[in-house]
């Protein structure tokens, strides 16, 4: 894991330097903030799924929960409910999805893969059903603030009276990302629940025989994944001021990828928020830089695939040489 983290950080630095040199507009304030904005949603999902993966589980329902929570927020807002209330309700719905995942995994002892695969279908189905598979548009202006607003935006009046943006400000999603990363990092590293999550993932039987409530611990991990998927959905839909029931298809795999690139082991027991953030930034920066270079989306897919394999392979090779 240590090696993988080192490889990941180096990869991030190398990427940054290479793109800065080869792509003229990459290293500008505007673009760095764009990378941050694009990475934020990946980071939310990645942090959530990191919790689940550390317990030895997996969450395949993230993409669908994104769609469901976005749709719930959209429909409620359009029905005239205050935007912040509808956001809150959609987070609760997403949390409910996580709760159900957790209960299925613990009470019914379903394999996490199966439980969340089922939830993936169910949440998507509900999102499509309640919207008739149509995008929810015509949303109030306030719905877009979360995804499009920024803090410290500086504008000046130019000579001819137009407003000129001298500093675009820090997008709200980036601020939320920093807060979420700090909070969930704290919970994982410094809070009892984090300790229990590592213990359960590291050796479930030992944790149980030490008196740790294994079920409760796992349910909390799925709750975290659910609620962060909900947050992702709100932020995504807010950016386009439209709720798309088709959004987020396959996003759970991006989330898992960022966790794994950052050194989280699918066997459970290890992983960090810092690592996942690095993983999210690697994917985000790759997408952004390759886009600016004019590399096709298909080639991007190939490159990201190679990065995932290389990151984990580096760790495996290192471990083998230790033996």
């Amino acid at each position: 894991m240590v090696v993988q983290r080192f490889v990941a950080i180096s990869a991030l630095v190398v990427l940054f330097v290479v793109f800065s040199i080869t792509t003229p507009k990459f290293f500008t304030v505007q673009n760095v903030l764009t990378v941050g904005l694009q990475t934020s949603t990946m980071a939310f999902m990645g942090i959530g799924v990191t919790y689940v993966i550390i317990t030895g589980g997996i969450d395949l329902s993230i993409g669908s929960v994104i769609a469901l929570s976005g749709v719930v927020a959209g429909l409620l807002s359009r029905a005239g409910i205050a935007v912040w209330v509808s956001f809150l309700c959609s987070l609760l719905v997403a949390m409910g999805c996580g709760m159900v995942n957790g209960l299925l995994v613990t009470r019914l002892s379903l394999p996490p893969f199966i439980a969340t695969l089922g939830m993936m279908q169910i949440a998507r189905g509900i999102a499509l059903q309640v919207t008739g598979a149509r995008a929810v548009a015509g949303l109030p202006e306030k719905f877009g603030v979360l995804g499009n607003g920024a803090l410290f935006r500086v504008t000046t009046l130019s000579g001819d009276g137009r407003q000129v943006v001298t500093f675009p400000g820090i997008p709200y999603p980036v601020i939320i990302m920093v807060v979420v990363a700090l909070v969930f990092n704290f919970l994982l590293r410094r809070h009892r629940i984090g300790r229990f999550i590592y213990a359960v993932g590291s050796n479930e039987e030992a944790a149980r025989l030490s008196g740790i409530d294994v079920h409760r611990t796992k349910i909390i991990a799925y709750l975290v994944s659910g609620v962060l998927a909900g947050l992702t959905g709100i932020v995504m839909m807010s950016r386009i001021v439209t709720a798309q029931p088709n959004a987020g298809v396959g996003y759970e795999l991006d989330a898992i990828a960022s966790a794994v690139i950052g050194g989280t082991s699918l066997m459970g027991g290890s992983g960090t928020i810092a690592g996942t953030m690095i993983g999210a930034f690697i994917i985000g920066m790759l997408r952004n830089g390759l886009n600016m270079q004019g590399v096709s989306y298909f080639i991007q897919q190939i490159i990201i695939g190679l990065v995932i394999i290389a990151a984990v392979a580096a760790d495996r090779l290192q471990r083998r040489s230790e033996r």
């Binding site: 590291s202 050796n203 030490s210 008196g211």
Partner: protein
């Protein structure tokens, strides 16, 4: 029938730090059942693995049908006609009986298709040789354990095996299944197969064994015609040694104040009406053969397995224990048999393992962990228990077995446990560390903590305990005063030859 099939002479096998076999002899004739007996760690498994090609001896020669041979792996030995049936059978449950027997050697039709009809016919023939009634097209998962064993035997015969090694074949069988197995063994004998039979259950040897070889501490003790010796004689040969000063002096002694009491503890099919008491200052041993229910007893007390009846009292207070959480709250700590599987999170840090059962103590009411407090706690126990580690932030898997065990002890001390159940506390630990663990147990008993020790090593029980409970097939058959008993007596109880109770 006196033709020699297999013979080893002066075979020696070393593992890092252990001399597993020291110039051992063994010989097997055609058509005989040759039993191999000895205590745990006597070298039976190692010898078996050498005979079946899994290990290669460091010294000594293996003769098969009169010629010296070297097997490089188990497949080579199997092709030559030496098959081994392990205690945990090696069958694929979702394949049929015939598919299991011929796995990798399926009869083929032209074009490379598997000839199912031919395969099933051959399987039927093999099973008929054993006079057992099994349909070769049944999936193995649908068979009871005893029948699966027959499938393993049929598989061995399909290799035209002339030597069959059976490791504890009856450990999981019922009485009638054992009878069935013995019939098959008689069949095989008549067909000229030589059988090496390893068992803890000495009393069952009388039905089948022709000769017995005893190993002790990796050394060859002797080979006897079964008819010429008594069971008691064999037991004395297995045990042999007298106690050396391998154990620390006991500083604590029972005060007569009762700490803990178990009454009529029962778990259907596993534990039958077990009652005992534990006194302050006492180390109480639990002896028994494999499968006697020792670990099951510990797990039932600790709430890790369900109970069907019974009561427990700690300092006179009745306990309601339905889960490990209840047991821990009540003040009972369990140090499992397999540290790495159940006692420790080996990928986590030493300090995290020590605090694992009592994280509340090092965190705020809101759940925030105080790293400094955790470090101090861990450092305290590292000093107290003399855990050898560069720092409390060491990953546990990098510690030696003895130090790992101390970490588990520290975990329960930090939880302020009042009763500690040690399950095979010194298994896989080197001699020096054993001494340290034993001294620690004595100290704990002296501090008023109730200490229960489950062990397969009789010298350990005799060296450390005050009283010994002996279990046999889930029943408490004897409560012995350690000072007045002997290994022979314990073994006689454990083998079910005598029973003082029930």
């Amino acid at each position: 029938m006196d033709e020699e099939l297999l013979r080893v002479e002066n075979v020696t096998k070393k593992f890092p730090g252990v001399l597993a076999l020291d110039r051992v002899h063994f010989e097997l004739r055609r058509g005989e059942v040759h039993a191999l007996v000895g205590e745990n760690g006597a070298g039976k498994s190692t010898l078996m693995k050498i005979l079946s090609g899994v290990y290669r001896p460091d010294e000594g020669t293996l003769y098969y049908k009169g010629k010296p041979v070297v097997f490089h792996n188990a497949q080579e030995a199997q092709r030559a006609g030496i098959s081994i049936i392990y205690q945990e059978l090696n069958l694929m449950p979702h394949l049929t009986v015939a598919q299991n027997i011929f796995i990798g050697r399926e009869p083929l039709r032209f074009g490379g298709y598997i000839d199912d009809r031919q395969m099933n016919r051959q399987a039927r023939e093999l099973l008929a040789r054993l006079h057992v009634d099994i349909d070769p097209t049944t999936p193995v998962y649908a068979l009871p354990l005893s029948k699966r064993q027959m499938v393993e035997i049929a598989k061995a015969l399909s290799f035209r095996s002339e030597v069959l090694i059976m490791d504890e074949p009856t450990s999981a069988l019922t009485e009638s299944e054992i009878e069935e197995l013995f019939k098959v063994i008689h069949q095989l004998k008549q067909q000229g197969v030589g059988i090496i039979y390893i068992s803890h259950r000495l009393e069952e040897l009388k039905h089948i064994a022709d000769r017995v070889t005893v190993l002790r501490d990796g050394k060859y003790i002797g080979t006897y015609n079964y008819g010429d010796v008594t069971l008691e004689y064999l037991v004395s040969k297995m045990v042999g040694r007298t106690l050396e000063h391998k154990f620390p002096p006991r500083t604590s002694s029972p005060t007569g104040r009762k700490i803990f009491e178990v009454k009529h503890l029962t778990r259907a099919g596993v534990l039958h009406d077990i009652s005992f008491e534990l006194y302050e200052g006492e180390i109480l041993g639990i002896a028994g053969l494999m499968g006697a229910g020792r670990t099951e007893l510990a797990r039932a007390i600790f709430g890790a397995d369900p109970k069907d009846g019974g009561e427990m009292y700690l300092h006179g207070r009745k306990l309601e224990i339905h889960s490990p959480v209840d047991a821990i709250r009540a003040g009972i700590g369990y140090l499992p048999e397999d540290r790495k599987l159940a006692g420790l999170a080996v990928e986590m840090l030493l300090c995290e393992n020590i605090t694992m059962a009592n994280v509340e103590e090092i965190s705020s009411r809101m759940g925030v962990i105080f790293p400094l407090k955790e470090r101090k706690v861990a450092e305290h126990y590292v000093r107290e228990l003399d855990i050898r580690t560069p720092s409390v932030y060491q990953v546990v898997k990098n510690l030696s077995g003895g130090n790992q065990q101390k970490v588990v002890v520290a975990k329960w001390l930090f939880r302020k446990a009042k009763v500690l159940i040690f399950d095979e506390p010194t298994r896989g630990i080197d001699v020096g560390a054993k001494y340290a663990i034993h001294r620690l147990m004595d100290q704990l008993a002296g501090q008023g903590i109730g200490v229960i020790m489950i062990s397969s090593e009789l010298p350990e029980l005799l060296g450390m305990t005050d009283r010994i409970l002996v279990l046999h097939e889930g029943r408490l058959v004897g409560v012995l005063r350690t000072r007045e008993t002997t290994q022979e007596e314990i073994l006689n109880y454990a083998a079910g030859l005598v029973s003082a109770l029930s």
